[in-house]
Symmetry: C2
Subunit: 318 residues, 2 copies
Amino acid sequence: MRALCKAVLVLALSAVPALADPLPSWNDTDTKSAIIGFVDRVTDPASPDYVPPADRIATFDNDGNLWAEQPIYFQLIYALDRVKERAEADPSILSTDALKAAAEGDLETLAAGGIEGLLEVLAVSHAGISVEDFQADVNAWFDSARHPTTGMRYDEMIYQPMLELLSYLRDEGFQTWIVSGGGVHFIRAFAERAYNIPPEQVMGSAGPTEYVDGQVMKLPGIDFVDDKEGKPVGIDSRIGKRPIFASGNSDGDFAMLEYTTSGDGPGFGLLLHHTDAEREFAYDREGHVGVLNRGLDEGPDRGWVIVDMARDWSRVWP
Amino acid sequence: MRALCKAVLVLALSAVPALADPLPSWNDTDTKSAIIGFVDRVTDPASPDYVPPADRIATFDNDGNLWAEQPIYFQLIYALDRVKERAEADPSILSTDALKAAAEGDLETLAAGGIEGLLEVLAVSHAGISVEDFQADVNAWFDSARHPTTGMRYDEMIYQPMLELLSYLRDEGFQTWIVSGGGVHFIRAFAERAYNIPPEQVMGSAGPTEYVDGQVMKLPGIDFVDDKEGKPVGIDSRIGKRPIFASGNSDGDFAMLEYTTSGDGPGFGLLLHHTDAEREFAYDREGHVGVLNRGLDEGPDRGWVIVDMARDWSRVWP
Ligand SMILES: [Ca+2]
Ligand SMILES: [Ca+2]
């Protein structure tokens, strides 16, 4: 069946004289030609860099790479909204300084509480609930919450040029995976709708879970942090193959890009540089999200391609 | 492209008057008709039990379900072989009773050492090596090792009827996943060759790993036991969807089958009962591998189908 299909497609494609631009929201810069040149090389059976479809693994960071992450990770906004809502129903849950700060949206105090404070917030907003119910709640939140400065739905603050890149890679036989420091259950709630990426191709940070009576329940705590060296570790654990294409926007993605570009065969590293204060946000070396230093310093020498979002993208949102 | 391909396939298939038997090594018993009846129901768009392809998740235990597991798990034989080999080069590594027992193939003493002893054996045979080098070593072992009673290669002691079932399900739009208590890196070394299942659809028990200089290294210890309640937990973590078809052979699979058959939609549970002492091995309620009690007692009332391997299979090996 597959062979038949392939044969028919070859015939069908040979009748098409010219393919449409696969990346219409990317300006015609060296960034775009580097991406297309790489994809052409690894998909051309006559090329020395040819990679068979089964090994065309592409991995994408999520926050700041497929969707926005300012003024703070959207998942944290969800968590704060939920703590606030639950405290309105039952004020006694605000039993710690971190939870009080969360309910008030006081990020400074929350940050001062460090990881302990964050875990308290996650325990209220992300635990004691089945995975299915949690994801239904996340989607209810998407329906009602709006971004403080753009007024947009959070799940529409996704990058049109990256949607085109995902789609282009899939059309060329790649598997497109999300490898995110964000929570795996949170991202899976919207990744298929937003990015056309199914749950089984989403990995992320995760808390413990427990199987009880036919349901998987979310428990408090964090089991796996899918950031920095955790990204190649998670990729090995879930995919079991070294990617040949990796895309990120912060130094949390450095190890993933290094892993991707240090195999024996071809490997492509892409870093988004947030340079567009007008259409999106401009930030890099400092701040509390998406800090990018080592990637800017060492990326070019490693052959990684840095996307200048203001210059390389003709549009940002879908 | 996909739509075009689908249209062509519909045309091509409508020209085929009758489909060949998808399960030729299964005898024409009620077991075979139950499997085919379920697949027909969930793939027929006019059926109330129709499941779209994206949700056709099938999960398979490995030991005793896709390949044999007697006289003991094959991965343990690999581990003992490697401890013995390394001790020949450097006898000083036999620093504990468990390691001495392993090198002598003395399973009773090893078993008496419990989990601590097993971890010592795994630390010698499964750690301090990159994932890539480990898998090359596993494949070198497959090339030289032979089963003590059948004389067969271990990676050929796979069940022909299960290969047909995997292939049939894939042809019907299912994803076929391995969910094994065995080690994930060990199974991935041969699963694509043996079962046509790629690494990214293999989950199993796992030790910690570490990313160092472009390589993922295996460390001593066990992080995740993909058995009993660990199976639905692993399925949620890796796939993020409830399966609609699950197949196993021991009470270690009970939770996976329960999870699969307790969703809102259709779900199929299959349990292999090892009844064939002549062609394979006969065992169930007692022993050190593949113990099946609760499944035999409760399975039928839960609607699970029990495969009587002697009666339902016309052949065992490929
Ligand atoms: Ca990021
Ligand atoms: Ca088993």
